[in-house]
């Protein structure tokens, strides 16, 4: 079956800087795909190329099997939500949501129904007549979403739509966004630098680094099996720990071992480290330790020791890496 | 791709307009200044102008421009130094101060021709109140020049002051405080902080006003008529009175040459910093 949206070998440079480097992607219909990456590394550029606001230097954009690379945004049947929400300041909520329908020449009565439906879905029907300059950040975000929904486009593009919300509202907004996408069954492509957005919203995540997708997989895959060292250190509340396999007595003369803080059992085992500082993590603790002279790792455990003390730990689960690329994953029996 | 050229498409009406209504007539005027009914590329028009007082017109234009600019910039600096501070009634003063900018040049000419009248006039009655003797404001070349300079500066100082003010507001007050702490008095602060930072703005104001001074037309016409002669009034005089329109083209071209030379001068000076 045709992917809903496909990127083929997209390249884009600004001056001397190559921002997107032969990037390819296939997004399936009904999928919630999240593009995750550090700020300023081309995520927004990628989205704008999908939307048609910018043109790639090379490569093709296909939507619904059609080559749209040469088409302007208004001919691609996509909807987009910007980080700033881009609400038309001189109109009220209703007119903002109705605008795309007005542009398509949809008759007023039909449009009215669609606008009200969208408003109800996003629970903003009570402010439908307010000028958009007078509503809260969270409400603005929902108006932007309603405006995107109203047209039934092929693909929804969202550029950091949650970044401007404060933490509390953000959590609720995430839940709601996922709910809406599931309910509509539409294809969503969302760009963010926030891990939590990726882990809670995505069916699949594309981790963008240096102009390419370093890994594309489900949130669990990129968390448990990061395909490169960089991904392992980027994804997660805390970076994945990396130590030379020798230090942990795991044989192999070269290569590294990667493990998440919670993949260890603290208090037993043959590996040792010196505790440098402690941070509370729910019922347990993050233990920031030093291995030998040069390596720093974080362990998660119930034990609480004093700084300066030696801690013993044992790996229950780990990944082997050589040349920074994942070679195998392993579990050790307790 | 097509996208790249769209901005130029939007610019097209403006560019076409400018080409047809500005560059083409200018080129035509310069071209025709070298023509006579009998010959095609001669200097006889210019030679004729010299006989009719071209050098005088040039000197008058230069002198007037220099004097007017001096007055405008001096006053503008004072006023913008005032406007940069806070005081009661500031918005009223600002609104008041800008009014001359909106008053038509002819109206300014009207008022000042009644203020600076040959006999009587409001300036003379003012002088009388202070016990001073009356002046004949058109008795000499110097007085003529002064009259025009003052009238012109009345109308045009506000715009210079606004430009300088824009520049001054961009200088952070902390620099002044630091300098004051280091012992610099107000004059030294002005010379070493204000002026250097204003260079760009001064250049802009200088070009805009300087060129306008060269082009000054209505005020001399109303206040002094055709004598003392300026490049603009000379051009108009030939156009409206004599049979030879070519002389007016020649005078116009001389004016154009000075305008261009002046602008290039200011730009060059700016680049050297």
């Amino acid at each position: 079956m045709n992917p809903k949206l496909e990127l083929q070998q997209i390249e884009k440079s600004y001056g001397n800087k190559k921002v997107l480097n032969k990037l390819s992607l296939e997004v399936s219909s009904g999928e919630f795909f999240v593009i995750l990456g550090p700020s300023g590394e081309g995520k927004s550029t990628l989205l704008r190329i999908m939307a048609g606001i910018e043109k790639p230097d090379n490569g093709r954009v296909m939507i619904d099997g059609r080559d749209v690379t040469g088409l302007p945004p208004n001919k691609r049947n996509i909807a987009m939500v910007f980080q700033s929400y881009a609400l038309y300041p001189n109109m009220n909520v209703y007119d903002n949501i109705a605008f795309p329908l007005k542009m398509r020449g949809v008759p007023k009565s039909e449009a009215k129904q669609k606008v009200l439906d969208a408003a109800k879905l996003l629970r903003i029907d009570d402010i439908i007549n307010e000028p958009v300059t007078k509503i809260s950040g969270g409400q603005k975000q929902r108006v932007a979403l309603a405006r995107a929904l109203v047209r039934s486009p092929s693909v929804f593009l969202l550029d950091e739509p949650l970044s401007n919300l404060d933490a509390r509202v953000r959590y609720l907004a995430r839940v709601e966004l996922k709910r809406i996408q599931k309910k509509l069954g539409e294809t969503f492509i969302l760009v963010t630098h926030d891990q939590k957005d990726a882990s809670s919203l995505a069916d699949r995540v594309g981790v963008l680094h240096e102009g390419r997708f370093e890994q594309v997989g489900t949130p669990n895959e990129i968390y448990d099996k990061p395909s490169t060292k960089w991904v392992g250190q980027f994804v997660g509340d805390l970076p994945m720990n990396f130590l030379p396999s020798q230090l942990l007595g795991l044989g192999q003369s070269d290569g590294e071992v990667g493990f998440r803080p919670e993949w260890v059992t603290v208090g037993e085992g043959e590996s040792e480290c010196v505790l440098e500082s402690v941070e509370r993590a729910g019922d347990e603790y993050y233990l920031f330790c030093r291995v030998g002279e040069d390596y720093r790792i974080v362990l998660k455990g119930a034990t609480h020791k004093e700084t300066g003390e030696t801690i013993r730990f044992k790996l229950r689960k780990f990944n082997r890496y050589s040349d920074s690329a994942l070679r195998e994953t392993a579990e050790q029996s307790p | 791709m097509k996208e790249k050229y769209i901005p130029f498409l939007f610019l097209l009406p403006a560019l076409l307009y400018v080409a047809y209504f500005s560059f083409y007539p200018t080129a035509s005027a310069v071209y025709q200044s070298f023509q006579t009914p009998h010959a095609h590329f001669v200097l006889s028009n210019y030679k004729g102008l010299l006989y009719f007082g071209l050098s005088e017109a040039i000197l008058n234009t230069l002198f007037l421009s220099a004097g007017a600019l001096a007055i405008q910039f001096a006053v503008a600096f004072v006023v913008s130094s005032v406007l940069i501070r806070e005081f009661r009634g500031k918005s009223v003063f600002t609104a008041l101060f800008v009014i001359p900018f909106g008053v038509a040049t002819v109206v300014a000419g009207f008022s000042f021709s009644n203020i600076f009248a040959t006999t009587g006039g409001y300036a003379n009655s003012l002088l009388r109140i202070f016990g001073l003797p009356p002046l004949n404001w058109y008795s000499s070349w110097g007085m003529d020049m002064l009259t025009i300079m003052v009238s012109d500066s009345w109308k045009n100082t506000p715009i210079v002051a606004l430009i300088l003010l824009a520049g001054m507001t961009s200088i952070s007050p902390e620099i002044y405080k630091a300098a004051a702490l280091d012992g610099a008095g107000p004059l030294r602060r002005f010379i070493h902080i204000t002026l250097p930072n204003l260079k760009g703005y001064i250049a802009i104001a200088l070009v805009i006003r300087g060129v306008s001074e060269f082009n000054i037309f209505a005020l001399p016409l109303i206040l002094v008529g055709y004598r003392p002669v300026f490049l603009t009034t000379m051009t108009y005089e030939f156009y409206s009175t004599t049979a030879s329109v070519y002389y007016s083209y020649a005078a116009a071209t001389v004016l154009l040459a000075f305008v261009l030379a002046f602008s290039l001068l200011v730009i060059k000076m700016r680049e050297n910093h």
Binding site: A51, P72, N74, A79, F82, A86, P89, M103, R104, R147 | I6, P7, F10, L11, A14, Y17, V18, F21, S22, F23, P25, T26, V78, V79, V82, R85, G89, L96, F97, I99, P100, G102, V103, A104, T105, V106, V107, G109, N114, Y122, N124, S125, W154, T169, V211, N215, L221, I222, G225, T232, T235, V245, S248, Y249, A252, T253, L255, L256, V259, S263
Partner: protein, 273 residues
């Protein structure tokens, strides 16, 4: 402490003197128009205060001279100039806002270069062309010529207005299905309303004041400035005072309104280059 008190008094002295200087010529206009002639023009030393107030001066002027004709002429021309400024200027400013900064600055500078070419250099060749194009002595003809004075500043102001609109809004409109033209005229222009209004008013005012093109291109049906000039040279001072009042009053009001808009646009707009 002594220093600041001294400078405070100095400040207020300057403010007082400048305010006086600004108002005086307008005050003289007021006196000549509304005071009986024996105190103003006929007096050897005109009174500095109103000797009396009368409307006879104005009434005589209105009866003896055609005030309505030139006033209408000026109004028509000014509105046309304002309209053309928007018709040409809005697309031009939009195009410039899409170009990289350096190219946009070059073109803007080019437009201001246009402003510097002396009006008298252009007006004379244009008058010849207009005669054959049946535009001589017409409102559209004069408006097209006066546009030269107005266009660079209009584009500059509109560019500032467009630049201040967040880019996302334009992208959003395109994504929402608006083609380029609808995006510009349904979304961007309404958001640039302050700039559009300021531009129209400024263009209107500059046309209202304009002299050089008017005197050369429309001498038979003159605009108000030309009529004032003619009456001054013929010695009809009272008539000119009446015309001058009609010319001035709307402008004084508009300048004060504009001043509020102008300061914001001027500082925020294209001075970033």
């Amino acid at each position: 402490m002594n220093n600041s008190k001294l400078s405070r008094t100095g400040l207020y002295i300057v403010i007082f003197l400048v305010s006086l200087a600004v108002i005086y010529p307008l005050y003289v206009l007021f006196l000549i128009a509304f005071s009986p002639v024996r105190y103003t023009l006929d007096a050897r030393y005109p009174l500095q205060y109103p000797g009396g107030l009368t409307l006879t001066n104005l009434l005589t002027a209105f009866k003896g001279f055609n005030l309505v004709g030139p006033a209408l002429r000026s109004i028509e021309t000014a509105f046309l100039v304002g309209a053309i400024a928007l018709v040409i200027g809005i697309p031009a400013a939009y195009g410039l806002s899409k170009l990289p900064r350096r190219q946009a600055n070059t073109i803007t500078t080019l437009l201001f270069l246009v402003n510097m070419l002396p009006a008298i250099v252009i007006a004379i060749p244009i008058s010849a062309q207009f005669i054959s194009a049946h535009l001589y002595n017409t409102v559209p003809g004069l408006a097209l010529a006066q546009e030269l004075v107005v266009l660079p500043l209009s584009v500059f102001l509109l560019l500032g207005a467009f630049d201040s609109i967040p880019r996302d809004l334009e992208y959003q409109a395109r994504v929402d299905g608006a083609g380029l033209l609808r995006t510009v005229y349904l979304i961007l222009v309404p958001l640039a309303k302050a700039g559009v209004v300021s531009t129209f008013l400024l263009a209107w005012m500059m046309s209202w004041d304009e002299f050089t093109f008017a005197v050369i291109l429309s001498p038979i049906n003159p605009t108000l400035p030309i009529v004032i000039y003619e009456n001054i040279t013929r010695g009809n001072i009272l008539a000119s005072s009446a015309f001058a009042l009609i010319l001035t009053l709307p402008v004084v009001v508009m300048t004060m309104l504009l001043q509020r808009y102008l300061k914001g646009e001027f500082l925020a707009g294209g001075l970033n280059g």
